[in-house]
């Protein structure tokens, strides 16, 4: 990997340029603060006790750092009438997001591969129609989907949600992979055909290993979409099968007793943590994938 350097940038020197630099970094710093501030408030509030929150300013650093709010949010906060914390719902989300991401990414890769490397009459029309799926507002499909899930006996279950997210993710995953594979030279597929590999042989042994960057982008996108989804979760699941986003809403909106801001904040961070993790982990692979896949000629 090439070392980062600014030696390639030629710029004018002088007092005017210095002032412009200072202004530039001041603006950048301001934007950083603007984005980091809510995160700071959430983390610091989640580490305070309720008494401290009531007395002090929400801007202040916590005096005694404690993880009681986190423990409660995870294990004993009340979601509706059940007081087991976010934990069971978090597991629901995992059971929903992981299979749905794997399925939609795999099928999207297959679609993109078939649409670009095994061209058939009408491939462009089919792709255009699939793309249309990316622009359908989800509210429109709620009722027909609910009926379909009912017919399939999947209503109110996590596998039902997996199905919904896989189907509605396909438009995006197909788009991502189709656009990636269009840049893969046809000659490579032709060479593999002459070499004796078939449709799936070429897919798994030649094309898929080349598409690591596309896989990472798709996984990040799909995981974020599916994990953060609220609409499908609230519409197609009931009580115990709720994903974590719906449970979080129920924790925060529980109207009995005092408002536990520290627990709410901790719960919100817990619910958001996995997407952050995927960005950090997959992001590293993303950069590595970009440089590993770079082959000229």
């Amino acid at each position: 990997m090439r070392a980062r350097s600014t030696s390639g940038i030629v710029r004018r020197s002088g007092p005017g340029a210095v002032v412009m630099r200072v202004v530039l970094f001041a603006v950048l710093g301001l934007f950083c603060l603007y984005y980091l501030f809510p995160l700071f408030v959430m983390v610091s509030t989640s580490l305070k006790s309720l008494a401290e929150i009531r007395e002090g300013s929400f801007l202040a650093f916590p005096r005694d750092i404690g993880f009681e709010a986190w423990a409660k949010a995870w294990g004993s906060a009340c979601v509706g009438v059940r007081c087991d914390g976010l934990q069971p719902y978090f597991m629901n989300s995992v059971m929903m997001a992981v299979p749905a991401v794997i399925l939609s990414t795999t099928l999207g890769a297959l679609n993109g591969y078939a649409l670009t490397k095994w061209r058939f009459p009408g491939a462009d029309i089919i792709f255009a129609l699939m793309l249309f799926g990316a622009f359908i507002p989800f509210q429109v499909v709620l009722l027909p989907m609910a009926r379909t899930l009912g017919e399939l006996g999947l209503a109110g279950t996590v596998p039902g949600l997996v199905l919904v997210h896989t189907v509605y993710g396909l438009a995006f995953t197909t788009l991502f992979f189709r656009n990636f594979f269009i840049g893969v030279p046809d000659g490579i597929v032709q060479a593999a055909k002459v070499d004796g590999a078939g449709f799936f042989g070429i897919f798994f042994r030649i094309v898929l290993p080349m598409s690591l960057p596309a896989i990472v982008v798709t996984v990040i996108w799909q995981f974020t979409q599916i994990w953060n989804d609220f609409l499908f979760g609230v519409a197609f699941t009931v009580g115990d099968s709720n994903p974590v986003t719906v449970a979080l809403n129920n924790v925060v909106n529980t109207s009995t007793g005092v408002k536990e801001y520290n627990v709410d904040m901790a719960a919100a961070i817990i619910a958001g943590l996995p997407t952050l993790l995927v960005y950090v982990v997959a992001g590293a692979y993303f950069v590595r994938g970009l440089s590993a896949g770079a082959v000229k000629g």
Binding site: G187, A191, G196, I206, M210, G293
Partner: protein
């Protein structure tokens, strides 16, 4: 024993656009056939049809006597080298080369033996653990060749394999490909737009234009006796001089009077190659003269049917072994190939001599050789 290839009335269209317009071709076992033509003439499509990478529109393809219209590429016993090399970027050189044997479930020991033999032959044995991205253009080309050779198929298909190499490497690889063909004796179909590659490699050349084969013959015939102006103009570098003119009989001899030239210039075309005697006076023809048949007067041993004329030098282009002199007859640029020591300055008059036994005559209307 190598397999022959036979194409019968082959046609192929993309959309409403017919690219292969009824091609018949009979390639003998062990032959090295070069398909040559300008870009867009259908030569790569024809190769893809033979490979099975495109479906046949109509007509038949036979490989080794079997009709293969519906046989997928993997079962045609062919190997192919692509212009872009099309190496698998995520696989090592070793895995690139053995992939074809892997998919055909060749035993590991045989794979290793074949890999070793051809890696040594192509001098890529020290590169086996590298990825294609770490190789130079010439090394990638060798790996692509290795991948094709290692399975030892009956037919090799080459799709402009040398066009991405620099000039020096291209000449080296050209010689190596010819050596390999002489050594292995398999049938080769080779596509190129480079007429020098075609001349040097082929046992027979098929000159293609616009979906048709214009001429299919050995290199000498293609060069010496082109069937029409297209073949004559395409083969040879610099290209053949094409001089439009009229037939003229005078005193029992036949001449071509170049259009727009002064009266004194008239090319005698009595030679065996130029059969213009039967044509009436004034018939429009094209006189074809290769640059190497025009030289400085008196610099070659005298021969029959020489014609000497004067023209001022326009441009001088040294190439090293020869020097090209551009001059004009009737306002048209012509090229002569002279020895470097015979050269004159631009603007000076120069006395040229033409070997008219090598002249070609084409009908101006049809473009066919007369």
């Amino acid at each position: 024993m190598a397999s022959g290839i036979r194409l019968e009335k082959l046609r192929k269209s993309f959309g409403g656009n017919e690219v292969i317009k009824g091609i018949d071709l009979d390639i003998a076992p062990g032959e090295f056939v070069v398909l040559v033509g300008p870009s867009g003439c259908g030569k790569s499509t024809l190769l893809n049809l033979i490979a099975g990478l495109e479906t046949v529109g109509s007509g038949d393809i036979f490989i080794g006597g079997d009709k293969v219209n519906k046989v997928p590429p993997r079962d045609r016993d062919i190997a192919m080298v692509f212009q872009s090399y099309a190496l698998y970027p995520t696989k090592t050189v070793r895995d690139n080369v053995t992939f074809g044997m892997e998919t055909r479930r060749v035993p590991k020991d045989d794979q290793a033996a074949a890999l070793e033999e051809f890696a040594r032959l192509l001098q890529i044995d020290h590169l086996l653990d590298r990825k294609p991205g770490q190789l130079s253009g010439g090394q990638r080309q060798r790996v692509a060749m290795g991948r094709a050779l290692v399975r030892q198929p009956e037919v090799f298909l080459f799709d402009e394999p040398l066009s991405n190499l620099d000039a020096k490497l291209r000449i080296e690889m050209r010689t190596e490909i010819k050596k390999l063909h002489q050594r292995l004796g398999k049938t080769v179909v080779y596509v190129t737009h480079d007429q020098i590659e075609a001349m040097t490699l082929a046992t027979r050349i098929a000159v293609m234009d616009n979906g048709h084969i214009r001429q299919f013959a050995d290199p000498a015939t293609i060069y010496e006796n082109p069937v029409d102006m297209f073949v004559a103009g395409f083969m040879g570098s610099p290209p053949m001089n094409m001089i439009p003119g009229r037939v003229w009989h005078d005193g029992g001899k036949v001449f071509v009077l170049p259009r727009g030239a002064r009266e004194s210039i008239r090319f005698p075309v009595d030679g065996p190659a130029a059969r213009g005697a039967d044509l009436p006076d004034g018939h429009e023809v094209i006189l074809g003269l290769r640059p190497e048949t025009i030289f400085a007067a008196g610099t070659e041993l005298p021969g029959p049917n020489r014609y000497v004329f004067d023209a001022p030098v326009e441009v001088v282009e040294p190439t090293g072994p020869d020097t090209m002199i551009v001059f004009q007859i009737g306002g048209q640029d012509l090229i002569a190939r002279v020895r470097p020591e015979d050269v004159a300055k631009p603007g000076r008059a120069f006395r040229f001599e033409v070997d008219m036994t090598k002249a070609k005559l084409f009908d101006a209307e049809t473009g066919k050789a007369l």
